[in-house]
């Protein structure tokens, strides 16, 4: 799992760059908006060359993606994930965003499946169990977990408690609960007890490793 929403804010860019250099094969990537920044600049300041989840498909270490937004509206130029999809049509799974985040949340919350009206009457419903509840049709969706979550936070304390700024929270907290190992990239690490205990966005018990970024990293 790769945290954030898409765009530069909340994305664990340094962890992604490090991962992309590893000699690995066959990774499944789970993300939200995925692989569109490089071609469109989506969510990146204009003066910085974007990094996005397309990197795992350009370098070939990934062979599957589960996401909600893998291609830009414009058909040209083609993004790395669209190029990958052409030869691997069953390896790009596109899920409605609310269903995707709830599937991830449920994996962390011990809920194996839930019903939602999102996708009823569309191809999302194909081959899925449905049920009428109070005369309305719903689709049964299952929890989605991962071996690793790479996430990005603003600040961590020594106990691994995390806080996020603004819209950079997004998918990060839910992913932290849904992976066996959660690795977080932060701007700052502070002493235990220095964050307000009422305002911890991700509890430290979900965090396994913390990587502190250099000050003034070229990536936001």
């Amino acid at each position: 799992m790769i945290g954030g929403f898409g765009g530069s804010g909340g994305q664990p860019t340094r962890l992604m760059l490090a991962l992309s250099k590893k000699k690995l094969k066959g990774l499944t990537i789970i993300g939200n908006v995925a692989g569109i920044s490089e071609t469109t600049g989506y969510g990146w300041p204009k003066n910085i060359k974007p990094v996005d989840q397309g990197i795992f498909f350009r370098t070939g270490i990934a062979d599957k993606i589960i996401c909600s937004f893998p291609v830009p509206a414009s058909q040209n130029p083609k993004s790395p994930i669209e190029n990958f999809w052409h030869n691997n049509k069953n390896s790009v799974e596109i899920i409605p965003q609310g269903t995707l985040i709830e599937k991830i949340r449920c994996a962390g919350a011990g809920i194996p499946a839930f019903y939602t009206s999102t996708g009823v009457g569309t191809i999302i419903e194909n081959n899925k169990e449905t049920k009428f509840i109070n005369n309305k049709k719903y689709i049964l969706e299952y929890a989605l977990s991962a071996d690793y979550a790479l996430i990005r936070a603003s600040v961590a304390d020594e106990n691994g408690n995390l806080q996020f700024r603004g819209t950079s929270r997004a998918f990060n907290p839910a992913m932290a609960t849904a992976a066996k190992i959660t690795i977080v990239e932060v701007d700052e690490i502070v002493k235990a007890g220095s964050l307000d205990p009422n305002n911890i966005h991700t509890l430290g018990i979900h965090v396994n490793r913390i990587i502190k970024r250099r000050k003034n990293d070229i990536y936001p």
């Binding site: 929403f5 898409g6 765009g7 530069s8 804010g9 909340g10 939200n32 908006v33 569109i36 920044s37 469109t40 600049g41 989506y42 969510g43 990146w44 300041p45 204009k46 909600s68 937004f69 893998p70 291609v71 830009p72 509206a73 058909q75 669209e82 999809w85 049509k89 790009v92 596109i94 899920i95 409605p96 965003q97 609310g98 269903t99 985040i101 709830e102 949340r105 939602t116 009206s117 999102t118 996708g119 009823v120 009457g121 569309t122 191809i123 999302i124 603003s154 996020f164 700024r165 603004g166 819209t167 950079s168 929270r169 997004a170 998918f171 990060n172 907290p173 839910a174 966005h201 936001p220």
Partner: protein
Amino acid sequence: MRYHSDPAERLNKKQIAKYATKFLKNNSIINLGIGIPSLCAQYITDPTILLHAENGVYGFNKFANEKNINPDYMDAGGNFLETNKNMVFFDSVESFNLIRGGHIDTTILGAFQVSKNGDIANWMIPKRGIGSIGGAMDLCANTKNVIVTMEHTTKLNEPKIVEKCEFPLTAVNCVNKIVTDVGVFEINYNSIILKECAPGWDVLSIQNITGVKVKCDKKIVFMDIDNV
């Protein structure tokens, strides 16, 4: 924009967006899709209307000045936001609780096709074969009031309001209102009802570029595009 058979100019994208804001109620919370809908933001002057974005914010009203952007303040379209005292931030779980839970009053989005029973297709062009769903399916399936803003026809002047969508659906039976560059329509009891015409347009000219039989109110009003 004007095709040779058109009785008058069609509205431009900004005019469509501006006109759509006429249908927003005060004290409501609104989600704007990408494309024409995102242009609506600049025409919303009522301070009690709160804009929501899927990535975890509501209460914003302006994009940030390009010299003063911060990646931690973004909308779902990837635009950077100026902060203000009414903004609140939350994670994606809560953001979609708001959407799925029916706490968003109105969503405005674009479409490739809308059918007379309110089905909408807006996420994939079949000949491309891949598209992005994002939050559109959640928004369409769960928001009380779904307004589509779009050009009335394709570039080849083919109808986008149709009997039955041929493109892959985003959601069924959900669209309440359509604002296009030639008119305003409501969907009610499996019918497309023309409520307002663009200046210079009439029922017949609109019928000619619409894929379904258009019903009318007794008296058609012209869209008052200068006074929204």
